[in-house]
């Protein structure tokens, strides 16, 4: 078969691609040994149980094979990933205390501005550590805790110990084990019973160091009847060497509580993004996932909802955009483990210029979870003939008293639709962008305005390289 020459265009990713000089206060050696793990733990002044947890996780990591059922991970050489980079900064609660170049990066990403205008609290992580964390005083007064995981581990050790990696145990898969061994940074949120946090909190994770890994841990507990919207943003500049992101997100949604977890991940094209996110939802609680996957070389990401209490609810809305050289394997998992639980899944993926978007989903209903309802819709849009798309929505039912609606559509962008828009004076590039924006509109309309704008901007950045 003749191989067509493919051009890897360098999309100008603008602000996302700004590289700072690689400076650090401490970094671990490449690769992974118990000595490195002990060193990281010592550097972070951790309690012994955590050091032991890390070492145990490392053992599990070493014993597990690299998964082969999904994306090709052979390009990932763990011996060449720096697992821990402490930036040359202490954590502050004022942007003035953040070193100039790091502050500037976050300013270009719009974080301080968003904090002033539309957020109740912000955490900003640079490489392995949080460099900024702040929360509005009125939330503190209501007992809301929002801080970095390191601080949480010291100040709220009991809560952390009770929940840390309980939803995602290290033996879950190889990269969960890796995370358990080398995790660093991330955010801890605790919303007390009945407290309604009506404006969002946001953590932003920025990986600047070349050849490094980012392994932040996010732990959120929303107590009975409480309400929170948490936004996670991620990006990194482009390097020639491979970077790795293997974060963990554990969400506890108690009775009648509601948590919306929104993410826009926009990694550079040298990133292996192997992230694990999981929520457990008690009686009549609600988890809403909004997930935008852009960038990265490889992504494997399947946020999971465990509906443990009767009447618990999960909504997943996801958009994935795969371009040249990208294999984005995304989806969601829902376990209906109690009666009358409800889930809805709405996934959209776009692939262009040889990109591969793969939807992988699991819907599982346990034997005694009767009277459940689920609707699954996955749609894929391919912008040309070189791109690929797959859909594997697995459904496992252990009882038949359940109401399921399922719809999957894979299609190529319609030349007739492009022509229709062009016949009204709109050029080809804008016509395609308009169709793609319309395709993801059900998702953008769920986002707060400034993130809807960011999502549309990312789509425009992705599409600019596709014409000509």
């Amino acid at each position: 078969m003749e191989r067509r020459k493919t051009y890897i265009e360098d999309v100008d990713r603008g602000i996302y691609d700004i590289k700072n000089k690689f400076t650090y206060r401490y970094k671990s050696d490449k690769g992974l040994t118990p000595e490195i793990i002990i060193e990281i733990s010592k550097e972070k002044d951790e309690p012994k149980w955590m050091t032991d947890f890390r070492l145990k996780s490392l053992e599990i990591y070493s014993s597990k094979p690299v998964p082969t059922w999904g994306a090709d991970l052979s390009g990932l050489d763990m011996d060449n990933i720096i697992t821990y980079v402490r930036p040359d900064a202490d954590m502050g609660d004022s942007w003035d205390d953040v070193p100039e170049d790091i502050k500037k990066t976050f300013e270009l990403l719009g974080i301080p501005q968003a904090e002033r205008e539309s957020l109740a609290g912000v955490g900003a992580q640079y490489d392995s550590e949080i460099v900024y964390h702040n929360i509005k005083q009125e939330l503190v007064d209501q007992g809301v805790i929002y801080t970095d995981m390191e601080t949480a581990l010291h100040q709220y050790e009991d809560i952390v110990r009770e929940h840390f990696m309980q939803l995602i145990p290290p033996n879950d898969h190889k990269f969960a084990a890796l995370h358990g061994a080398v995790w660093s940074g991330g955010s801890f949120v605790y919303v007390p019973e009945g407290v309604n946090v009506d404006i969002p909190l946001q953590s932003y994770f920025r990986l600047n160091a070349p050849g490094a890994g980012q392994f932040e841990h996010t732990l959120i507990i929303v107590e009975k009847g409480a309400n929170l919207h948490f936004i996670e943003g991620c990006s990194a500049p482009q390097y020639r060497v491979t970077n790795l992101h293997a974060g963990c997100v554990e969400l506890y949604v108690r009775e009648n509580a509601r948590l919306r977890y929104s993410t826009i991940e926009n990694w550079s094209r040298n990133m292996y993004n192997l992230n694990t996110k999981r929520a457990i939802v008690d009686k009549n609680g609600t988890i809403e996932w909004i997930s935008g996957s852009f960038g990265s070389k490889v992504t494997m990401l399947y946020p999971m909802s465990i509906l443990k209490g009767e009447g618990a609810k999960s909504e997943f809305t996801g958009v994935t955009f795969a371009s040249t050289g990208q294999y984005l394997d995304t989806g969601t998992k829902v376990v209906h483990a109690a009666p009358h639980t409800i889930s809805s899944i709405n996934s959209k993926s776009i692939s262009k210029n040889g990109g591969h978007a793969f939807y992988r989903g699991l819907l599982k209903v346990t034997p005694d979870a009767y009277g459940c309802k689920s609707t699954v819709s996955c749609e894929s849009l391919m912008l040309d003939n070189e791109s690929a798309s797959d859909t594997v929505p697995v459904i496992k039912l252990d009882n038949d008293n359940i109401d399921i609606g399922h719809e999957a559509k894979i299609g190529r962008i319609s030349d007739e639709a492009i022509f229709y828009l062009m016949s009204r004076g709109i050029n080809e590039e804008e016509a395609k962008a308009m169709i793609v924006r319309g395709f993801v509109e059900p998702i953008t309309k769920e986002l707060p305005l400034e993130y809807a704008v960011e999502l549309n901007n990312l789509i425009n950045i992705e599409l600019e390289g596709s014409i000509g």
Binding site: S414, A417, I426, N427
Partner: protein, 250 residues
């Protein structure tokens, strides 16, 4: 002296090695209404798409001159900017894009002038009122879930917002009831003036009760075989295309 707007010379179009238009000639001057009639398969829609610049319809031979400029190689958006508009027989559905957002982008693009949200809202509402369209159409997704009649009205709405020099209406009357036809015809008349021209492509002559054409052309097997006045349309109405075919072919 009336100025020529569209001059199609000896146009030949092949689709998959089959000749569809076989040397078509058509001249439209400013301010004229032309009706092009022909049976199914005669090449009517091919002409419409070719004039609008659909990439699938490659010009094998001949010229399309618009406003004195050869436009054979221009893309559809470039033709739209020069004032050509096609009302589609089967308009595409574009999910997630509202009628208003789409038309404001189109208007900005066609005129090269920015149209602000509020001023455009007002303009759109005026045009919609004239077509007896409910205000909520502006916020609906383009053609999605529209009935056949609603889609056709939406095409006429787009035409009245974009104000083209030449509007080509491809079977706009098909699928419309009597009331809708009169509203559409009124909409068409409002766009047409002594500078602007209309080419109505139709199978029947329903619109003819409302529009007074200057010329009626009969398209048979890829060529215009006869041009006349409104009496020609009446002749087809009474005697059908077969009669015309024997009378004018070869």
């Amino acid at each position: 002296m009336t100025k020529n707007l569209l001059n199609v010379k000896n146009l030949k179009i092949n689709i998959e090695d089959k000749e569809i238009l076989k040397g078509l000639n058509l001249q439209i001057n400013e301010g004229e209404i032309h009706i092009l009639m022909g049976p199914n398969g005669s090449g009517k829609s091919t002409l419409a798409y070719t004039l609008m610049g659909h990439p699938k319809y490659e010009i094998a031979e001949g010229d399309i001159i618009f406003n004195g400029e050869l436009i054979n190689d221009l893309r559809a958006d470039e033709r739209a900017k020069r004032g050509i508009f096609l009302s589609f027989q089967y308009p595409e559905e574009i999910p997630g894009v509202t009628v208003e957002e789409f038309l404001r982008t189109a208007k900005t693009s066609v005129t090269g002038k920015f149209h602000g949200v509020i001023a455009f809202k007002k303009l759109l509402k005026e045009k919609m009122d004239l077509l007896e369209m409910e205000e909520e159409y502006a916020s609906r997704y383009l053609n999605q879930g529209f009935s056949g009649g609603e889609k056709k009205k939406n095409e006429i709405l787009q035409m009245s917002v974009l104000e083209p020099k030449l509007a080509i209406l491809d079977e706009t009357d098909s699928g419309l009831d009597v009331d809708a036809i009169s509203i559409v015809a009124e909409g068409v008349k409002r766009v047409q003036d002594d500078k602007k021209s209309i080419l109505v492509i139709t199978h029947y002559n329903k619109l003819l009760d409302y529009l007074k054409p200057d010329f009626v052309h009969i398209l048979l097997d890829g060529k215009i075989v006869k041009t006349g006045g409104i009496e020609l349309a009446k002749e087809i109405d009474e005697r059908g295309y077969e009669n015309i075919r024997t009378k004018y072919s070869n």
